[in-house]
């Protein structure tokens, strides 16, 4: 009985799939971390009084949101690096860059919305006390806005995590890619894809549950 379970095609695929899961999580976290930094810059730029800064931010957001992430990653991996600058980067780097750039556009809108949602009087109070625009943003607006960003950022995490599965096209050894490699050898397509799905859900469902709780706790 135990042998049967241990020998089952479901369990057998796990060591390989775990390798992929590690990479999936790595790409998602590093992409989101960098994407948040870039997104915060673009999002605040989107609110800038300077028209040029605002325009650049809008163009960035619209271009990235208006093109499929699959196109973006192919562009980064093959088009940009090989054709344009003749420099090849490895597929993992390309994947992280793609998530960063893509998530940044959505995060920029999250940042913009959250900052914009803070009452105008907060900034006025800061400025009326003699704080500079930057200090007003840093000490008054941002801490309040950040709280409101947490739920949509969690949502973005789930979206980006699933987006990483597209990177199997550039042969990044993430979860889906490893699954494909595995069933190409074993032909256990159903079993493998089921396990792949379960592994995604193992991350996305707890995240969603946790987010809903957090949302209630933060009262946003």
């Amino acid at each position: 009985m135990i042998d049967a379970i241990l020998e089952s095609p479901y369990i057998n695929s796990l060591p390989v799939l775990f390798e992929g899961l590690k990479l999936t999580v790595l790409i998602t976290f590093s992409g989101l971390f960098l994407g948040f930094i870039l997104g915060a810059i673009v999002g605040i730029g989107r609110l800038s009084k300077k028209k040029l800064v605002r325009s650049i931010s809008i163009v960035y957001i619209e271009v990235v949101r208006g093109t499929p992430i699959l196109v973006q990653v192919l562009f980064i991996y093959y088009g940009l690096t090989e054709d344009l600058i003749g420099l090849s980067i490895n597929s993992l780097t390309a994947a992280i860059i793609a998530i960063t750039i893509n998530a940044a556009a959505y995060i920029a809108e999250i940042v913009r919305g959250a900052v914009y949602s803070i009452e105008k009087g907060q900034g006025e109070a800061g400025r009326s006390l003699g704080l500079t625009e930057n200090d007003t943003m840093r000490y008054i607006i941002w801490p309040q806005a950040f709280k409101r960003m947490i739920p949509p950022l969690g949502n973005q995490f789930v979206i980006s995590l699933k987006d990483t599965s597209l990177f199997s096209v550039i042969a990044v050894g993430e979860l889906l890619y490893m699954g494909k490699q595995y069933y190409n050898v074993t032909y256990e397509i159903f079993e493998t894809l089921l396990m792949v799905s379960i592994l995604y859900l193992l991350i996305t469902i707890p995240t969603s549950v946790y987010l809903r709780r957090l949302e209630r706790k933060l009262d946003v």
Partner: protein, 240 residues
């Protein structure tokens, strides 16, 4: 101390201030009254550039607010402002609300700023609330904290934008009392208000605004008992 010369302010095509001229002397308490939409709040907000000036000049201690070379942040630090809706920082404790600007603008250490903050809280009667968050305070308490926050920068003049309008009636008195104490200490104050009792009792001068212009100004007793301008008469007859 404050001189306003031919101040105009437009929002798009809408001209809200149509040439305001005013002088406020040191230690003077000037109350600005008028119907809503008369431009009195906008006028007040132009005095620390929360609204930028369309044309004209505002001089504070001789410095021209409309001059791009003027250090606006430095000037704002000398002009305290109290808002109708308090605008306390909800993510900071009462004491932190007060100490933020002295630390970040004046560069005081935390202990120096805390000393100032605690002294001001004692002054407005809220020492025991130092470590509470604003959400746990009543409206009157919030406004007293907001006054303390503005005072922490040691301003030369205090602007009050309808400071009691958002308060429940029974909480108005405690805020007015703090303002009276301030006036008696010799603070220069410009108060946009609907509290005619306060204007009458504490105002050195009352300015009546309507339709973006000063219609009448003078001694409170004269304005309230013997208004000259028909608009003033009509406004006062409606509210008194």
């Amino acid at each position: 101390m404050i001189t306003v010369k031919d101040l105009h302010k437009s929002f798009g095509d809408l001209e809200v201030l149509k040439g305001i001229n005013a002088d406020v002397k040191e230690k003077e308490v000037v109350c600005v009254i008028g119907p809503s939409g008369s431009g009195k709040s906008t006028f007040l907000r132009c005095l620390n550039l929360l609204e930028d000036i369309t044309s004209g000049h505002v001089y504070i201690n001789g410095e021209d607010l409309s001059d791009p070379n003027t250090n606006i942040n430095k000037l704002r630090a000398e002009v305290g402002m109290v808002f109708q809706h308090f605008n306390l920082f909800p993510h900071k404790t009462v004491l932190e609300n007060i100490t933020l600007a002295p630390m970040k603008v004046k560069g005081l250490s935390k202990s120096e700023a805390d000393d100032i903050g605690l002294a001001l809280l004692a002054k407005v009667g809220l020492s025991e609330k130092a470590n509470d968050y604003p959400e746990s305070l009543s409206g009157g308490q919030k406004q007293r904290v907001a006054i303390a926050r503005a005072l922490a920068m040691n301003p030369k003049v205090m602007l009050f934008d309808e400071p009691t309008s958002a308060l429940d009636p029974e909480l108005v008195g405690e805020v007015l009392q703090v303002m009276k104490d301030l006036a008696e200490e010799g603070m220069t104050m410009i108060v946009v208000t609907h509290e005619m009792g306060f204007a009458r009792e504490m105002g050195d001068r009352v300015i009546f605004m309507d339709e973006g212009a000063i219609q009448e100004e003078g001694d409170p007793n004269q304005i309230f008992s013997n208004p000259q301008n028909p608009r003033t008469q009509s406004f006062l007859s409606k509210i008194l």
